[in-house]
Amino acid sequence: MRVVHPERVLYGAGDDRPARFNLRVPSHFFAGSVFVRALSVLICLLLWQSGSANRWNVMVNFQNIPAPTEVAEAFIHLVQSSKLLAHIWSSVARIFVGFGLAAVLAVGLGLLVGRIRLAADIFMSPLEVLRPIPAVAWIPLAILMFPNSEESMIFITFVGAFFPILLNTIHGVSTIDRRLVFASLTLGASPVAVFREVIFPGALPSIVTGLSIGMGTSWFSLVTAEMISGQYGIGYYTWEAYTLQNYPDIVLGMITIGLLGMLSSMLVRRAGGMLMPWQGCREVKV
């Protein structure tokens, strides 16, 4: 019997499928797909390698760009020393504190502002003014505001994460179906119970989206802050590699930053999925 892949049933079986392929979760990972995907990565690496080896200088100057093989060599070197680990650790600790503070404050404030008009009137005007200022633009002031660079970098991380989380929380509260609030009231819920049982879980999908975006922006902000005012940290490591002309280490730093960002976003989504068992296998959109 010929078995048709679900992707070939174009209409009628499961109307909630995305319009085209779901790139985020390859739930239908064919052997063919794996092969094509691996091949595409390989071709990218080959192009890079030949660019560096032949010292291409068309539009992009490859003359000082280390080849993948050199980066791999540097990687083996680095793993043998524990230098990178110390840098990673100080960045992760800064993210943990800065992002953690932002998450607690922004979610709490977002729930209040989204639900209580007075809270919105009090908090929103100053926040609206501060919101468009990119976290990176806070760096000079942050250096003046805090006695040491550690605290100013944590502050930058905090600012980077705060607004995406706040705005998504407010959005989440505002999209809760009023009928659910009505239903809870006619079932005898007090105002506090409405918050706990309806508003918070109702906003949770949006909050998790905010946390996921906030995680990305806090890494972005931290790396920049570390490049400017840091001692230790993965951003500092990458910039130091440039000033010391250890070019393979630049790429290594970049890859590490990418991996750390990816891992932490994945962690946020996992935690979100565990908090929201009702969402089933639906992916959180980022």
Partner: protein, 272 residues
């Protein structure tokens, strides 16, 4: 009609008016609505969409403030939503983040009933609506009909004096709707709460209720009151009987209003 004169659930609406002001004009949604519903009575409110019947229901529930007039449940004035008046909407009623059993337990939890006891009561109620096997499911995993069963269980486990229903079966297919209507009649017979049932389906209104109120298009007023003296228990066979057809004709006469603009609303009703 059930005669339980001393039972709670007496609903009295005195000269209710709701109007709102927007963009420089005042719109009257409800105009001088007065009615009395006896304890344990099943009242249906019939009217075209936009006639204010849902607004009236919201006022009884305590969501909507009256511009004028008063509503009493057992001579207590209605001021805010409370557990003595349960409500069932057409859809999106259940908390998607709670399992079926947690949804049904909600009202009991709010009243501080201990966990083991409320679990037991909720299970009993779910068995009563035929969903004992879906206790651990989430609402999204259930069909529309099953969701409304859970919803009925969730409201009734609270033992409300008045059950307000806003086109509760309007989103269901015809077959499921008939099953749900039957279930509702059985539950009503068992628990004896007062029911105010809003619908635009004439058959449904007559099949279920003791009395049908017909509302006019905006501003919502009560145009007619038609008693339904069909014997109970009722079944679907009733729908083709002569008595039923007589009452339906009577309803249609009022829905097909002398005002021209009401003819279209009548078509809408037949289609519904």
């Amino acid at each position: 009609m059930k005669s339980a004169a001393s039972a709670p659930g007496m609903l009295k609406i005195l000269n209710a008016n709701i109007s709102y002001f927007r963009g420089g004009t005042t719109t009257n949604v409800l105009e001088n609505v007065s009615l009395e519903v006896q304890p344990g009575e099943f009242l249906a409110i019939l009217g075209p969409s936009g006639c204010g019947k849902s607004t009236l229901l919201g006022a009884i529930a305590g969501f909507n403030r009256l511009t004028q007039g008063e509503i009493f449940v057992d001579s207590r004035p209605v001021q805010k939503p409370d557990a003595d008046r349960g409500i069932v909407f057409q859809d999106h009623n259940l908390f998607p983040w709670k399992t079926v059993i947690a949804n049904v337990e909600f009202g009991l939890k709010m009243r501080g009933v201990p966990e083991t006891q409320r679990r037991h009561l909720a299970k009993e109620m779910l068995t009563r609506v035929g969903l004992s096997e879906f206790v651990r499911h989430y609402p999204d995993q259930l069909s529309g009909g099953m969701q409304q069963r859970v919803n009925l269980a969730r409201v009734l486990v609270n033992r409300p004096e008045v059950l307000l229903m806003d086109e509760p079966f309007g989103a269901l297919d015809a077959q499921t709707r008939l099953q749900m209507q039957e279930l509702l009649l059985n539950l009503w017979g068992e628990y004896g709460m007062t029911v105010v049932f809003v619908t635009h389906d004439v058959d449904e209104a007559i099949l279920l209720s003791d009395r049908v109120l017909i509302m006019s298009r905006r501003p919502g007023r009560i145009r007619a009151e038609i008693p339904v003296s069909l014997s109970r228990p009722r079944s679907i066979d009733l729908l083709t009987g002569g008595d039923f057809t007589d009452i339906k004709r009577e309803c249609m006469r009022f829905l097909r209003s002398p005002q021209k603009s009401h003819v279209e609303s009548c078509d809408e009703l037949i289609a519904g």
